[in-house]
Symmetry: C2
Subunit: 154 residues, 2 copies
């Protein structure tokens, strides 16, 4: 199958480093290419956006993994990469739902983007009602990770 | 900014043609590359998946549009492409939430994938609770399109 080329439409700006990036309350900016600012017109009429980005920190040799332990934890089962959100995947595309806080020219201020400073943005889509499913079934390991995170917060 | 190269991980198989593709009740198959079948391990423990695909039918010259009328309808406002789900976008990446019905080897059977036969698949992600926001704010034009679709169904 033929390869596909993409062009970054902008970059992430954040002061978060290391694990701080995963904090869903964190505010960061998406700096769109100036020639594309017009393509954001009226985006502020949506409260939430889906951000598709390129996890550029993943070396090519890490794209060949087929199975991983979620979060690299050996107490979690070994599962296929497509059954996890690991960045170590064939095409290291990131996908995150964010809250849109502000639009100024070519700059979007968003809450909840778990991407590092300098991450290339591939696409921005408005979040719509059809992007939701309820109820969802999750595996035991995922519920265990969720419970741990909740316990830590309390 | 440098261009990014991606590799299709599989293809869509569907009998749907034309507008039938948008029918969210329709069942289609994702044929993963055989060498990647292992990367689907345990994916059936999730009820829903996010499918990221490449809208290969969009010619390169259509990737430069900055504004569109949603659904090509002149009675809808002219809005920035990133404020719509139009395929005429800088990087024609498709993103759809589907219900996972069956997994057999390298073949996933899913409901609700609005992609044409032969569409290259870029990534498959399990749908998780953090992929949901409630309530969401939508623009007037989007609510109008939704109401029309509901009226038609009744």
């Amino acid at each position: 199958m033929e390869k596909i080329w993409l062009e970054p439409i902008g970059l992430v700006r954040t002061k978060a480093i290391g694990r701080e990036v995963s904090d869903r309350g964190r505010v960061s900016e998406i700096i769109l290419r100036e020639d594309l600012a017009e393509a954001l017109d009226r985006i502020e009429s949506f409260s939430h956006l889906l951000i598709i980005f390129w996890m550029h920190g993943i070396p090519n040799e890490e794209r060949t993994r087929k199975k991983v332990h979620p979060r690299g934890r050996m107490d979690m089962p070994l599962v296929g990469v497509f059954a996890t959100r690991t960045p170590y995947r064939r095409n290291p595309i990131g996908l995150t739902l964010v809250e849109l806080l502000e639009v100024r020219g070519n700059i979007l201020t968003v809450r909840g983007l778990d991407a590092f400073d300098g991450t290339p943005i591939l696409d921005i889509k408005p979040f719509d009602r059809w992007d939701t499913a309820e109820p969802v079934r999750l595996p035991e390991w995922r519920i265990r990770l969720e419970k741990e995170a909740n316990d830590k917060r309390q």
